[in-house]
């Protein structure tokens, strides 16, 4: 399994608050043509709502997160870049699809995952919330690269992470640790 890409940067709102518009700019700069999503409360206002107002990338709404794994896989086979925008609860619900399609088939499934109830400024694996604390160890166990996106400075990780996922044809998870501002 590939080396993980866990960020060990000091976790804080480095560089200021997360900006939804900057994240969207990075998503577009990454060549993402489709965002496949089920609403996530962390990214609802700052990311999903403005994405829904734009024509590009095209928003594909799904009923369950594992559908998105399949859709992104089909798009990847067509040479199209996609981002799955979900909550960690949905990611956990989709573990078998991620295991089979993303990891075992070695496909560049890019997930942007809002961490429901993560305390701002606290590393995910140090969260008091069980549902947050287990996310990174599960990704470690599956050999999936991940990056913590907590402050404005972290948005610079997005494009390299997506480019790397496509270059290596491997999945990646971008963990959104606090609510981005809509601006």
């Amino acid at each position: 399994m590939d080396a993980r890409a866990t960020s060990h940067d000091q976790l804080s709102s480095r560089g200021g608050d997360l900006s939804g518009s900057v994240i969207i700019r990075e998503i577009k700069a990454s060549g993402i043509e489709f965002v496949v999503s089920l609403p996530d409360i962390t990214t609802s206002e700052g990311l999903l709502r403005p994405l829904a107002l734009g024509a590009s990338p095209r928003l594909i709404r799904v009923c369950k997160e594992d559908e998105g794994i399949g859709i992104c896989a089909g798009l990847a086979h067509c040479g199209k870049r996609a981002l799955l925008l979900i909550q960690q609860t949905g990611m956990l619900d989709s573990i078998n699809a991620i295991r089979g399609v993303a990891v075992e088939y070695e496909l560049p499934i890019c997930m942007m995952v809002g961490l429901l109830e993560k305390e701002p400024g606290v590393r995910p694996r140090e969260s008091k919330r069980y549902g947050v604390r287990i996310v990174e160890p599960i990704l470690d166990a599956m050999g999936i690269a991940y990056h913590e996106i907590e402050g404005a400075a972290d948005t610079s990780k997005i494009k390299p992470a997506i480019d790397d996922a496509y270059a290596r044809s491997r999945p990646v998870a971008l963990l959104i640790g606090r609510r981005p501002l809509a601006s």
């Binding site: 489709f34 095209r58 009923c63 369950k64 559908e67 399949g70 089909g74 199209k80 699809a97 399609v101």
Partner: protein, 189 residues
């Protein structure tokens, strides 16, 4: 009730070299014998995701017709995909269902409420543009060509009997060489 492989043979007569076909498990093992082709997209993991892969392919290649050959047990695990497909509304997606009433690839156990469930009703109420049901092979043979020319998303419920014994070598569906060949063929086509 129709034989599944007879239906697939009738369908294969209308499938072109440009089409992408996404067959699931039991249908896939019949299909790869009936119509081996590099644009058969066979690796879609488990738990009923073929229709979602089909949606991704249809969105990614609007120039191509995408034909999903789903199973009823598979679709029951991914029913929400009917609604997602209806909203995305790809005009190039034709979604066939081989309804045999069983989880045939997993021992032939019946699906829940096999005599009461209405898959065509699901697709219709989800918002598919066209919905058809067939239980007579001759009628299906007469109409399948025209159905493939309809704007999608179209759902076609085929009432079939179980296929029976098959050589279910799953490496033929999602082995590394098969996956690589499909990916290369898609990128080259």
């Amino acid at each position: 009730m129709m034989k599944s492989d007879d239906c697939l043979k009738a369908l294969a007569r209308h499938v072109t070299d440009a089409d992408i076909v996404v067959p699931v498990y039991t249908a896939a093992f019949d299909w790869i014998l009936i119509r081996p082709h590099q644009l058969n997209y066979l690796a879609h993991g488990a738990m009923g995701l073929a229709s979602s892969h089909g949606l991704g392919l249809a969105l990614g290649r609007p120039d191509k017709r995408v034909i999903v050959l789903d199973g009823d047990g598979s679709l029951l695990m991914n029913l929400g995909s009917l609604v997602s497909i209806a909203e995305a509304a790809p005009p190039n997606l034709i979604h066939f269902l081989c309804e045999n009433g069983t989880y045939e690839a997993n021992g032939g156990h019946p699906i829940p409420n096999r005599r009461g469930v209405d898959f065509a009703g699901f697709a219709r109420s989800a918002g598919y543009r066209g919905v058809h049901t067939f239980s007579d092979l001759k009628i299906f043979e007469q109409q399948v060509g025209a159905i493939l020319a309809e704007p999608g998303p179209v759902f076609v419920d085929l009432k079939v009997s179980p296929s029976g014994p098959q050589n279910r070598d799953y490496s033929l569906l999602h082995g590394p060489a098969v996956r690589a060949a499909t990916r290369a063929a898609l990128m080259a086509s």
